[in-house]
């Protein structure tokens, strides 16, 4: 058991560090704003030019075939230097890994390089008004037509939906099938005819989400991933494996924890000491847990319900980090600041990507063997 980085990883890290030091821009306007979206796209393009926008992808799609350990190290460096938020993250982490696992060659070649260069920025379209935590309750329809499908219905809580170019999600292609069955995983163009996008402003004032109204939106067969009717399996195949690992990198939290300790040193309050220490060691624990997962995956292991354990931990850690910072800021805690912005964002963690209530059910049932009960 060791924590030593191999020489090749050290070299990669040094290259990343140097590149970031030379290229990271000053603060950009908010990602989910009219004035901020395109500067974030520009930043993604610069990352892509250095093959740093999707480091784990194969070179042919714009990545550099980095190992998961290199991904961890990249993320460490990225967040330690205060680089901008990643406007392409949803596409790269969710759709990208699904295409790599289950897409066709044609789909990968057509879609991934454009995604890596941020020529297309992707929004997710999972939730619906009556299918939030209960994703199997999807009602939006995909109706068979010549050479493709007509999508109709309403999606909501579409991250990046307000400004993104394209979107991906599940649609009910067999109305007679029950819940998880008869769903199809589809990609569609947000500029296509029949699509109406309604931004949903958030507490921080920016439309981080959108509602999408679809009225017979045509998508060709080429934009279905996997078999029609098999969408649930396609969506879940990556949900619990790599996605459970890559949804939030340790670098985000270790960087925030270091800033928290700096803030503590500038404004020490003995009664907040324990919370500062616990947030810091929580970030350390998350990093080490991730390295353990990386080691197991490298040895051929797989992730299952462990991704629920992961999700619960990082989402609560993120809130704790930011709450502690706001309390350290004292009377100025209520004023606009990066900490405040991060705090408001962190509050969505326990709700986003499967609520923590759902995740706790999964942990209890699948890892502790408790009965399913009535939830």
């Amino acid at each position: 058991m060791d924590l030593d980085l191999p020489a090749s990883v050290v070299a990669f890290r040094d290259e990343v560090r140097e590149w970031l030091a030379a290229n990271v821009p000053g603060p950009l306007p908010p990602m989910d704003s009219a004035e901020g979206f395109e500067p974030h796209r520009e930043w993604e393009r610069r990352l892509a030019e250095a093959r740093l926008s999707a480091v784990t992808w194969p070179r042919e799609y714009g990545g550099r075939g980095a190992s998961l350990l290199e991904w961890v190290v990249f993320e460490d460096e990225y967040y330690a230097c205060g680089a901008p938020g990643r406007v392409s993250a949803n596409g790269i982490a969710l759709l990208g890994s699904t295409l790599l696992a289950l897409g066709t060659d044609e789909q990968r070649q057509r879609i991934l390089p454009r995604m890596a260069r941020a020529d297309d920025i992707w929004a997710q379209a999972w939730s619906e008004p009556e299918a939030g935590s209960d994703l199997a309750g999807v009602r939006s329809r995909a109706v068979r037509t010549d050479g493709g499908w007509l999508l109709s219905g309403q999606k909501t809580w579409s991250s990046r939906g307000a400004f993104a170019d394209k979107a991906f999600g599940l649609f009910r292609s067999d109305p007679s099938a029950h819940r998880h069955r008869g769903l199809t995983y589809v990609m569609f163009d947000l500029r296509a005819g029949g699509v109406t996008v309604r931004p949903i402003p958030q507490l921080d004032g920016t439309p981080g989400f959108a509602e999408l109204f679809l009225d017979e939106v045509f998508v060709p067969d080429a934009d279905v991933i996997g078999e029609p009717g098999d969408g649930w399996r396609v969506a879940m195949s990556t949900a619990s494996n790599e996605r459970g690992l890559t949804l939030r990198s340790p670098g985000r939290f270790t960087a925030a924890a270091d800033r928290l300790v700096e803030l503590w040193r500038a404004r020490p309050d003995p009664s907040l000491r324990d919370r500062v220490v616990d947030a810091w060691l929580g970030a350390q624990a998350y990093r080490l847990y991730t390295l353990g997962t990386v080691s197991r995956l490298a040895a051929g292991g797989r992730l299952g319900a462990e991704s629920s354990v992961n999700k619960i931990f990082w989402s609560e850690l993120d809130i704790a980090l930011h709450e502690t910072a706001l309390d350290l800021l004292g009377t100025d805690g209520e004023l606009e600041s990066d900490w405040l912005g991060g705090y408001l964002f962190s509050l969505a963690g326990p709700v986003y990507a499967g609520t923590n209530e759902i995740q706790r059910n999964v942990v209890a049932e699948r890892l502790l063997g408790l009965p399913r009960g009535d939830r």
Binding site: D134, L203, G205, F209, L326, D327, G330, T331, V351, Y352
Partner: protein, 324 residues
């Protein structure tokens, strides 16, 4: 010993609640946040008609001359509806501050009549003057009160709290600074309890209606237990607020504020969690109270400062039995 609100106090609170429930306060908050205070000012004027303007203005200035218990009862309702504006300042702190200050007749009768709002900065715990663009700003320096001129405005997590830097303009005279501060903290605590109550009401209503997995969300035990814990925290914060209103001892005022802020914060977190994503949206009303709770948690002194003040003032063996 009678530790319960009397009939008049209950009626006052009920009338404030009824007025606000009919006043579309959420719309007023949104306008206020957009620098259009007209709707909010109208709400405050309507409150004046039920005797709530300048609540602590003494009777000799034609004010209601309300005591701390009445203030606590009213401010819980103001918090429950997340009423915008410098209410702590204009209804409680400034009236107390100027009650015995020569020249106070320039402002207090107008405040009592609902024609004038006032606001105040009391550094270090209250470094900015809230809503100084719609209220006469004062600045306290030591024991001395000055009128003030408003400078830059700062943005709070609660968009309806517009915080102004202020500089002294004209010296007014000596003020009852301690009394003003204690009343401000007390009213802030009462507001926080009310905010928590309002958030719990919104959450309870929502989970009774919202279904997931074919059942009302409110039937899930985890949701029930979260909201029950919030209720317990609020029920035990309120007596501390009322107790502080009776004694007005700094220790008790700080204790009330600590418990109220923690209970309200718990209410905010739980209400958000049971709402899910809709709770984060600007168009849904929940956020109006959520952000105010976060802001008031460090307004009128931090939790840490108030806890220190409690601990410093505990006299073991005596303190736990009021009025022995």
């Amino acid at each position: 010993m009678n530790f319960a609100l009397d009939r008049e106090q209950l009626q006052l609170a009920a009338s404030v609640h009824e007025l606000l429930a009919d006043a579309d306060v959420p719309a007023a908050i949104r306008s206020w946040s957009a620098c259009e205070p007209a709707r909010g000012l109208d709400v405050l004027r309507r409150l004046a008609k039920v005797g709530v303007a300048g609540l602590a203005v003494p009777e000799r200035f034609a004010g209601p001359g309300a005591g701390p218990v009445e203030l606590a009862a009213v401010f819980e309702q103001l918090g429950r509806h997340a009423v915008p504006g410098p209410v702590v300042e204009s209804f409680a702190a400034v009236p107390a501050l100027l009650a015995d200050t020569p020249g106070a007749e320039r402002w207090l009768p107008g405040m009592a009549a609902g024609d004038l709002l006032a606001t105040v900065a009391l550094p270090p715990h209250v470094p900015y003057a809230l809503d100084a663009d719609v209220a006469v700003p004062f600045l306290v320096d030591g024991d001395t009160v000055h009128t003030a001129v408003a400078g830059a405005v700062r943005s709070s997590v609660d968009k309806a709290r517009r915080l102004f830097d202020v500089a002294a303009a004209e010296r007014v005279g000596p003020g009852a600074v301690d009394r003003a501060f204690e009343l401000g903290v007390l009213c802030c605590a009462a507001q926080l309890v009310g905010l928590g109550v309002g958030l719990l009401e919104q959450a309870s209503t929502y989970v009774r209606q919202r279904t997931q997995f074919g059942r009302p969300v409110g039937g899930f035990q985890a949701v029930k237990h979260h909201l029950a814990s919030v209720h317990v925290a609020l029920e035990f914060a309120r007596p501390l607020v009322h107790g502080a209103a009776v004694t007005m001892a700094p220790r008790d005022v700080s204790a009330a504020r600590v418990a109220a802020a923690d209970a309200a914060y718990r209410a905010a977190r739980s209400a958000l969690q049971v709402h899910g994503a809709v709770g984060f949206t600007l168009e849904y009303d929940l956020g109006l109270s959520l952000t105010k709770v976060r802001a008031l948690r460090s307004a009128w002194g931090t939790q840490s400062w108030h806890r220190e003040r409690v601990l410093g003032a505990i006299d073991p063996g005596l303190s736990e039995r009021p009025r022995r």
